[in-house]
Each structure stands twice: as C-alpha cells, then as structure tokens.
Symmetry: C2
Subunit: 243 residues, 2 copies
C-alpha cells in the first residue's frame, strides 16, 4: 500500500512542503486506492462529493456536457494532480471525470480532509494553493479560448503539456498524447479536423514531429515565439510564506 511519505508526487500534492510527521497525518486521509480502466468514469455530475482524488498513475479528463450534447473538456489531469478539488465545499459533483487510460488513484476522504485541515495550517494552505492554481490555470484557458488563433491554441496546448510533464520528471520535448484529436479539439474550442491539420502544418514547418500520438517538440524556440506573443507574463506562483 503506497503512502504519501514515499510517493514520487508528494511535492505536487496535498503533503507538499510538509514535515515527515505532518505528512503521515495526511496519509491517514487516504481511505482507499482506486483502479480505473481506460474509458471508465470516476464521477458524474450530481454524484455526492465524499472524496477528492489524487492521480498516482494514468491520466483523466474532466468535462461538462451541455443539455444538447456538446462537450467541453475543462481539464486533462496528469499523475500527481488532484481531481474534484473544485467541489470540496459542494455537496454534488458538477463535472464528469473519465480515465483516458488505465489509472490508479488515491481516494482522499473529504470530511476527514476538512477536519484535519482545521488543525493543520500547512494542509489548509496547500488546499488553498491548489485551488488557486486551478483558478490561474482556468484564467489562462479563458485567454486561450477567448483571444488565440487556432494555431496559437495548439502550440499553447503542447507547451503546457510539455511543462507539466517535465515538472513531473518526464521528458519535456518528447511524449505521448493520451487523448484523441477530438478531445484536444474539445479542450481548445476547435474541431478534430482543425487539430489534425495544424499538427500537420507544424510538422511540415519542422517545429514538431508527430506520428500518431507520439510528439516531439523539435524547435522549442519557434514554438515559444508563437506562444510568447499570445500569452501574458506568467509570474511563478510562489506560495507566500504562511507565518
């Protein structure tokens, strides 16, 4: 049974920055491990919120479906990230969370998390930090959807993925997409054919290579240049010292 104190991703997760002793207390919040197969649902809108989930292996997507069936993917979630945090204070889930490949998760009990974070400021602070980062990420996505061209969106997507993977110890310039062109399109507000065409275009220009879902970022400087003019400065979100 894995424990927070030996988890590779502890520094991205609830125990971030904690002493070994506090980390063990966080460990006690994990009331189970969950295995999901590709395509399986973790929760759907309306489900009671009794837990949030930390990804140990695999990737998930979270999405909203309109009444007439259009789908907006609001997040792709990598190992070490939390899923369901936005509903920590709600009684019902609002998103639909689905595994994009076989995945294993820690199930963090919400009542226990609430109780412990009242007594453990470092934990409380980490929850706030993770939720704030979610808001900051969503603001970036609003900018992506609101003002960027299709090509800029695709580049922003690849660079975001690259940065998150490399922060987790994976290769920054060579990785495998876990999602279909259609899912990328849904995330970026574009159609799958547009994603495909732009991947081809970027590959023709020598900026990337892409075979099926295997991506290599070949000309990082050129990609950054496209991205740079389209995004605001991104100040690093240093956690401000909490006393």
């Amino acid at each position: 049974m894995p424990r927070c104190s030996v988890c590779t991703f502890a520094s991205f997760c609830l125990p971030s920055g904690m002493t070994r002793r506090d980390c063990e207390r966080v460990d006690s919040l994990v009331h189970g491990r969950i295995s999901l197969q590709k395509g399986e649902t973790l929760f759907v809108p309306g489900d009671p919120v009794d837990a949030i989930y930390a990804i140990r292996v695999g990737t998930l997507k979270t999405q909203v479906t309109t009444r007439d069936g259009r789908v907006q993917i609001v997040g792709f979630h990598l190992p070490g990230e939390l899923v369901g945090l936005e509903c920590l204070v709600s009684s019902q889930q609002v998103l639909h969370a689905i595994a994009q490949e076989d995945a294993r998760l820690c199930r963090v009990n919400v009542p226990a998390l609430r109780a412990l974070s009242d007594n453990l400021p470092a934990l409380h602070n980490n929850v706030l930090r993770l939720l704030s980062n979610e808001v900051l990420h969503d603001h970036r996505m609003l900018t992506v959807l609101g003002v960027l061209s299709a090509e800029e969106r695709v580049v922003a997507f690849l660079l975001d993925l690259s940065a998150r993977l490399s922060a987790r110890g994976f290769a920054a310039s060579e990785f495998r997409l876990r999602m279909t062109r259609e899912e990328i399109g849904s995330y970026l507000g574009l159609k799958l054919e547009t994603i495909s065409r732009l991947f081809s275009k970027l590959a023709d220009a020598g900026l990337i290579s892409i075979q099926h879902r295997n991506v290599k970022l070949l000309d990082m400087a050129a990609l950054q240049a496209i991205h740079a003019r389209a995004m605001a400065e991104k100040p690093v979100a240093k956690p401000a010292g909490n006393t």
Copy 2:
C-alpha cells in the same frame, strides 16, 4: 466607517453564515476603505499581494493582456463580490483590475486573513467556498467560450448578470450595463460589432429591449430556452456541512 456586521452584502462575502461575534473578528481584517474613480486601476500584474478587496459600491473588471496587446476580460465584479482572491497564496497579482464606474472597496489584509482563518474554521471554509465558486464560474465560462454560438454567449451573459444582480436585491429583468460593447465582446470572445448586432437581433425578436446601456429582459422564457440547451445542469453549490 461601515462594518461587516451591518453590511448589506455580508452574506455573499467573507462573513457569510457567521455568528455576530465571529463577524466582528472578520471586521478587524478590514484595514482600510478604498475609493476608485471610473477607469482607475486597483492593481496590475506583478503588484505584491498584500490585500484582497470586497466591493461595496460600483463594479470592476479583471483582465489579462497578452504581450501583443490582445485583452481577455476574465471577470466582471459586482458589489458584494471579492476581487483578487485567486492570488491569496501568491506573492504577485496576475490580473489587471480596473473600476468600470466610481467604486468603493474594503481592503482585506491578507496576512491577517491568513492568521485569522487558521483559528476560525468558518472563515477558512468561506474562503474555500468563494474560491471554489470562482472555479465553477470559470468552468462555465470555458464552456461559453468553447462551445456556444455568439447568440448563446450573449444570452448567457445577460442571464448571468440578471441572476447575480437579483441575488443582490437589484431588479432581475431591468438593469444598466456598466461596460462597453467592446468589454462585453472581450469577455465573451467576440468583437464589439458582433455584440451590437446580436443586441439588435434580440431586440428585433422582442426578447429584450436595449437603449444604450439600459437593458430589459422582456421574454425571460425564450431567453432561458436559448440558454438551457446550451448549458449543463447547474446544481446549486450548497456549502456542505463542515463537521
């Protein structure tokens, strides 16, 4: 000097649901009142985060500017709402906050807020709730920008404004827009001409009337119908009982 315990908007703000005694402790966090004139800036990206702000009078917008000058407005903020909450755990602001009309704000000291919320679970819980609501709102906006047609966006915008105003005791079906067509466009990922055309179209169809910035929602049922098929169910975010 206004105090939380007598503030009209206390139930939307940090002291929501608190006892009179706790409310007075929250009051002590307010280290100043700020007056802004129309067009004045509250903070810009990079500013140190020493306070968050509660709006007592007026409206603000928060926006991101890309390096090449495109602007994405990420929020319009009404009286009773907090501004700057997303940077509570950061050292620097990431947004640009600007008054859209003369405004008066409470300045909530962040170190004091952090210190008090470690000792006042109800406050800590309210901060989480407000931040979660921010995430939920942003997810709705991602859906608006990602999958809705221009007309659906404009209707969603008017209905969102109406709901927020009526929750604050203002008229639900007759109000004055505090922002230009260009700002609405920036918020919705559209151009000002498109906003203008769609207002005219909705007015021609008898769904609204609009004279300059004075809006009346004439056919709420028809507006809701357009909105309904374009949005997911919106479960009310009841605060889950904290212990």
